[in-house]
């Protein structure tokens, strides 16, 4: 598919029928979590869509987000790369290395100025620019340079979206998110550690289809995927309603699929599509495999207490603080009582001189 070619023309040239195109469109609408009634609009938009250049930067990351992308089945990573986008720079996947790799990035930025999509995974350390460099360039500089002419930025993964694990207390490297640095570009946060692959591709598909960013929630995430909590859409929700909870891993409740709230599940406060899309072509999702949600699509989820501490238990620290408070309270109480006693004594003394 040439750069100036529309997707409709490209598919047509590949011998794909209109029927096949419509199938493609309804699958794409489903992927974008759009209602089936939107297929018509998707078709109209996709027909005229052009293959965007994508520059994917990896900063303080673990490559889990890229790994996740490769698990995408709709579209598959290969059809994404071959048909839908032009992935011009991506550390882990690209053939070129060193100068060649950097040259590819620079060329893509130049040729597609103002039109390319910048994808970022990983956080950016601002404690010291040398905490993370590529080709001798600090992440901060590379991000600013690459963002300058981008059409939009997709922050993939919780690190890029919200700082993620490097940002976790005490944040040794001063890691920050993309939106902490770039303020003048539309940014889509596709959070998750890693994000669900079809959510990554779904957002790419949205940009490809409509050339614009989808509707976002207050944390910059596409509402289509992050609009409802895991808990709201969890198949174990009826057990929660009935008050049936697994009390321990591998107990009878756990085996029968009872709610994992008491084992620390963060589903109620986590917004993501795991419960509906599930992972790896619908195979399962964490709750489906017996472990509570750890809340990985939420900002600072690393610092919200143990993954096994129920939400309701709070994060109030140790009992020592309460013992200290008890001691202090008792001491103040004793003090006030003693002061009150001496006040009474003075009043009794005063009585001697008082005539009634």
């Amino acid at each position: 598919m040439r750069k100036d070619q529309t997707l409709g023309a490209y598919l047509f040239s590949q011998g794909v029928s209109r029927r096949g195109f419509l199938k493609f469109c309804s699958a794409t609408a489903s992927l974008m979590a759009l209602p089936p009634t939107m297929v018509g609009r998707v078709a109209a938009a996709l027909e005229n869509a052009r293959r965007p250049s994508v520059i994917w930067l990896s900063f303080q990351e673990c490559t889990g987000c890229t790994e996740s992308l490769t698990r995408s089945h709709a579209p598959t990573v290969e059809s994404l790369i071959f048909d839908a986008i032009s992935l011009d720079y991506h550390h882990t996947l690209q053939a070129a290395a060193g100068h060649g790799a950097e040259a590819a990035r620079e060329a893509a930025m130049e040729e597609n100025a103002g039109e390319y999509l910048l994808v970022v995974d990983g956080s950016i350390p601002i404690g010291n620019p040398a905490y993370s460099t590529i080709a001798g360039i600090s992440n901060l500089d590379m991000l600013k340079e690459s963002a300058a002419n981008a059409a939009a930025i997709i922050a993939v993964g919780t690190c890029a979206a919200y700082g993620g694990i490097p940002h976790a207390n005490p944040n040794p490297t001063g890691a920050v998110s993309v939106s902490d640095i770039i303020k003048d570009k539309p940014i889509i946060n596709v959070s998750g550690c890693p994000p669900i692959p079809v959510v990554i591709t779904g957002v790419l598909a949205h940009f490809l289809t409509f050339g614009s960013i989808p509707e976002l929630d207050e944390l910059g995430r596409p509402k289509a995927f992050f609009g409802q909590s895991i808990h709201d859409r969890c198949y174990r929700r009826p057990f929660y309603e009935r008050g049936q909870f697994a009390k321990s891993f591998d107990d009878e409740g756990a085996r029968q699929g009872w709610c994992l709230y008491e084992l620390g599940c963060k589903g109620p406060t986590t917004y993501n599509a795991c419960a509906t899309l599930k992972w790896n072509e619908g195979t399962s999702f964490p709750i489906g495999s017996g472990h509570g949600c750890i809340g990985c699509s939420e900002p600072d989820f690393w610092d919200k207490g143990s993954f096994y501490r129920p939400i309701a238990a709070g994060l109030w620290g140790s009992r020592d603080a309460l013992l200290g408070a008890a001691a202090a309270g008792a001491a103040i109480g004793i003090g006030t009582a003693l002061a009150a006693r001496s006040k009474k004594k003075r009043a009794n003394a005063a009585k001697e001189t008082e005539s009634t």
Partner: protein, 132 residues
């Protein structure tokens, strides 16, 4: 220990969404039967418990008509036991399921020959005639 303890109770995982789905299908079907427009339900948007999708499939069963479409991977359009209710499964070229729908309509639109395709077919038939 009471006698109740000896009765083994099996609680099936259930999202509680299967019955409402069937109700929705029923109403949609009534609309189509009354001459109204069809409805498409994206199964990917429903939170289903493990095994529930299979249960839905079993509940709907399979009817008289089954069509296979080969475009960007196979798609199976299976009419269910209930006329006018179709189970549509799209797969990609790697046979991975990319989307599943329940369509309530007389004929899924995907089965109709498309005008563009027919134009191309006319064109190609002409070419064929020229060759021979």
């Amino acid at each position: 220990m009471s006698a109740l303890d000896t009765i083994s109770v099996r609680v099936e995982a259930s999202s509680g969404n299967v019955r409402p789905l069937l109700h929705e299908i029923r109403h949609a079907l009534q609309r189509v039967a009354d001459g109204g427009i069809g409805t498409t339900i994206d199964l990917g948007s429903l939170p289903l418990a493990p095994g529930e999708e299979k249960r839905i499939e079993e509940l709907l069963g399979s009817g008289e008509l089954r069509a296979e479409l080969d475009a960007l991977g196979p798609t199976v359009l299976q009419e269910t036991r209930y006329a006018g209710v179709w189970f549509v499964t799209h797969r990609n070229t790697e046979q991975e399921v990319v989307a599943r729908f329940i369509e309530v309509t007389r004929v899924p639109e995907l089965l109709l020959a498309q005008e563009v395709d027919m134009q191309r077919a006319v064109h190609e038939l002409e070419k064929q005639l020229e060759v021979n």
